[in-house]
């Protein structure tokens, strides 16, 4: 068990949409007439590390992409701190899946991190030395400042993931959506990420993290969303992350269930 158990929440999980960091109502998303998310309702308070957990194809990435307006919503509304995404965009950061970009691109680690500042730099202006300094600091915080000038294809998978996190860090937003930041990273990177997440939390930031490793859910996240095309359960991890709920989420997928029960044995 982690030491930092969150303060008990009111039993009624319906938060006031104004105070909720993320409030989703009736969200349905479909790809080419095939629904991927069905009637999702969510309300998540501020300053939480939120794990979004579910089997492959459950719509985890779709959920955060729909929140970020990267995918068209078939129906429903998403609010961040009581306002629409467009209004709140400047306070929302995004860490895409590592595989979503071409790492052979002719830029250095530092240049990628500086992209986090492009929004602040604005149209037509170039990246100045003070921006580079900020980017370097962000790289330092994820422990790879010495790799700043390396071309990004020369970084290991974990280091690439840290570059993405540094970019989000440099952007310095109040809410973060992260798509599988822990996927295929080495142990040192995993620790660097989790330390960063904890720091974010202590600063009152809210992070939504798509996560696939059931064994670490209760260790990393104080709020868990169990997802399988619809919301199976959402709430404080110690209430939600139970064998029963997991079997509802993962259905008959036995191997995963086994993994889940192992995870429960380890963490409870």
């Amino acid at each position: 068990m982690t030491a930092a158990v969150p303060a008990p929440l009111p039993k009624s999980k319906i938060l006031n949409p104004q105070s909720a960091a993320l409030h989703i109502q009736d969200l349905t998303v479909a790809y080419h007439s095939k629904p991927v998310l069905w009637d999702v309702d969510l309300s998540i308070p501020e300053a939480k590390l939120v794990g979004i957990v579910g089997p492959n194809g459950a719509g985890k990435s779709t959920l955060i992409k729909a929140c970020l307006n990267l995918l068209p919503k078939t129906s429903g509304a998403v609010q961040v701190f009581g306002k629409s995404y467009e209004e709140q965009r400047s306070m929302i950061g995004y860490v895409p899946q590592r595989e979503s970009v071409d790492w052979d691109f002719p830029v250095s680690a530092l240049e990628v991190v500086a992209m986090g500042l492009y929004g602040k730099i604005g149209w037509f202006r170039s990246v100045k030395s003070r921006h580079k300094k900020l980017a370097k600091e962000a790289l330092d915080r994820v422990g790879i400042a010495d790799l700043a000038d390396r071309q990004i294809s020369q970084l290991s998978g974990g280091q690439q993931q840290r570059v993405f996190l540094a970019r989000a860090l440099a952007q310095d937003t109040r809410v973060y959506f992260m798509d599988e930041p822990f996927a295929a990273v080495d142990a040192a990177t995993e620790r660097a990420i989790i330390e960063l997440l904890k720091e974010f939390k202590s600063l009152g930031k809210t992070c939504f993290v798509v996560h696939h490793d059931l064994a670490t859910v209760s260790q990393y996240f104080d709020w868990t969303v169990l997802l399988n095309m619809r919301i199976v359960k959402s709430g404080p991890t110690e209430e939600v992350f139970t064998r029963e709920n997991l079997s509802k989420t993962y259905g008959g997928k036995l191997t995963i269930l086994e993994e889940a029960s192992n995870a429960l044995r380890i963490t409870h």
């Binding site: 071409d102 691109f105 250095s108 992209m115 492009y118 929004g119 020369q154 290991s156 080495d186 620790r191």
Partner: protein
């Protein structure tokens, strides 16, 4: 450095080549003499000057904006655009003729080409966004339909009595000789505009090409940025129609940036190199086509660009084949040396364990080293020889080697690193850091001191004795 040499000396390379070509071919096919050559090279002739300058400036523009097209992984949309220009030329001609003009007013024709080229882009995007068809199919469809339409239109136009449509088909293959001063200004203006845009929008287009989803979350208008890039491509295509022709303009957009990529890992440098290579292709290509009147400029320009591309592919200082071969050879040699050190240490370790004493530096039998790995005898010999030169091996005979002091330390270090990595892979089997030089990189640096400490305790290290082997202890004894 190489690049500099190339730039400075390229025209001079040509001189002897051209000279000998004229000797062999005589005057039957190519009208060539040294006076003409000087006249072309020195840009003394007014017409030649216009042609060479406008194709060079076109090359600069296509080289710069083409870099983004390449990085956006949309190279072939340039081809779709250029083919989609053809019906616009036909339609513009018809409209202008109907209005009582000559119909061959160049800006009018190019405007028509731009509009239909841009419509082609929109149709590609519409097909992609509304159907499940992928980019390549969408581009193939647009390319062939518009080109077919254009060819049919031009055919119809030539049948119209009274309309002097001769020369319209030169847009397909290009005809540099037709460039006049007015065209030159038009081409230069548009080319400069596009080049400047590539540098002004460097940051925005870079973000678009690298990570468009992320760009959208920062509030950048991704769709508009994409369109602006494609408008730039359309403009370059249109001003290139006259000289290079619509079939080959794509080469001007793709080859210079592809060649530039071999020289650098930095986008801004790539942009500059690509512009320079594009300009150079245009310059040399137009010059050659002016020297050999029978050669079509578009084709010559592409051939020159291709030569530059092949040169870059071989000798590019960043990704060229030669530099990669050298790096690979170096790596192989280093791995070989690591294996030698590692194996030597393991042999010393076995000897120490066998005699139940602490490990120390002793003579190692070559036969024992040979057993440990699938080394060819000659391979081992050359490894030993280079290690002697590097001071790792103090002396060797046909039967023994003796590590030097530095060599013994290096052997211990290499072995420790290898074993820590092996232990790490066993403990954290699912993922290992890629691109790590397992022999030499400090394990601590990659994994962090905590993990290394933990791994070491797992290996039950007794540093005075030997470095335990993670596989099993008996293995070391056998």
């Amino acid at each position: 450095m190489l690049l500099k040499v190339l730039f400075v000396s390229f025209p001079f390379f040509l001189q002897p080549i051209l000279g000998s070509a004229s000797d062999h071919l005589g005057t039957s096919f190519i009208h060539f003499n040294f006076k003409d050559f000087l006249e072309v090279i020195s840009l003394a002739n007014y017409n030649t000057r216009l042609v060479i300058l406008s194709t060079s400036i076109l090359g600069i523009a296509s080289g710069s904006i083409g870099s983004f097209l390449l990085l956006r992984k949309r190279s072939l949309i340039g081809d779709a655009i250029s083919h989609a220009c053809l019906p616009g030329i036909g339609i513009a001609f018809l409209i202008m003729t109907a209005l009582g003009n000559t119909g061959k007013f160049l800006p009018g024709l190019l405007l028509g080409a731009s509009i239909s080229g841009f419509v082609g882009v929109l149709v590609v995007m519409a097909i992609r966004n509304t159907t499940k068809l992928k980019d390549d199919a969408a581009m193939g469809i647009v390319l062939s339909i518009f080109f077919g339409l254009g060819v049919a239109l031009l055919r119809i136009i030539t049948e119209i009595p009274g309309a002097s449509a001769a020369g319209l088909e030169s847009f397909i293959y290009g005809k540099t000789a037709s460039i006049v001063l007015y065209d030159f200004w038009l081409i230069s203006l548009v080319a400069i505009l596009v080049t400047v845009a590539s540098f002004i929008l460097l940051k925005e287009w870079t973000l678009l090409c690298f990570d468009s989803g992320y760009a959208a979350t920062q509030g950048w208008p991704v769709y508009a940025l994409d369109l602006s890039l494609l408008v730039g491509i359309t403009l370059v295509t249109v001003i290139g129609l006259q000289s290079v022709g619509l079939i080959l303009i794509i080469a001007f957009l793709i080859i210079p940036p592809s060649a530039a990529r071999f020289w650098t890992e930095n986008l801004k440098k790539m942009l500059i190199i690509s512009s320079v290579l594009g300009g150079l292709s245009g310059w040399v290509g137009a010059t050659m086509s002016a020297l050999f009147q029978n050669l079509p400029a578009g084709a010559v320009i592409v051939l020159v660009a291709t030569t530059i591309f092949i040169f870059s592919m071989l000798f590019g200082t960043s990704r060229g084949l030669l530099i990669r071969f050298i790096k690979h050879t170096k790596l192989n040699r280093k791995i070989g040396r690591d294996h030698l050190m590692h194996s030597s240490y393991e042999v010393l370790e076995e000897m120490a364990m066998h005699e139940n004493r602490m490990i120390n530096n002793q003579k190692i039998k070559r036969s024992r080293l040979l057993q440990r790995r699938s080394w060819m005898d000659t391979e081992l010999k050359s490894l030993i020889h280079t290690s002697k030169k590097n001071g790792l091996i103090e002396r060797y005979t046909d039967e023994y080697i003796l590590l030097g002091e530095a060599g013994f330390a290096e052997a211990a270090r290499t072995t420790r690193n290898h074993r820590l990595w092996e232990m790490y892979l066993i403990e954290y089997a699912e993922v290992a850091p890629t691109n790590v030089d397992r022999g030499a990189d400090l394990v601590e640096h990659v994994l962090g001191a905590d993990i290394v400490r933990m791994l070491e305790s797992k290996m039950k290290t007794s540093p005075y004795m030997y470095i335990p082997n993670p596989h099993s202890e008996s293995e070391g004894l056998s």
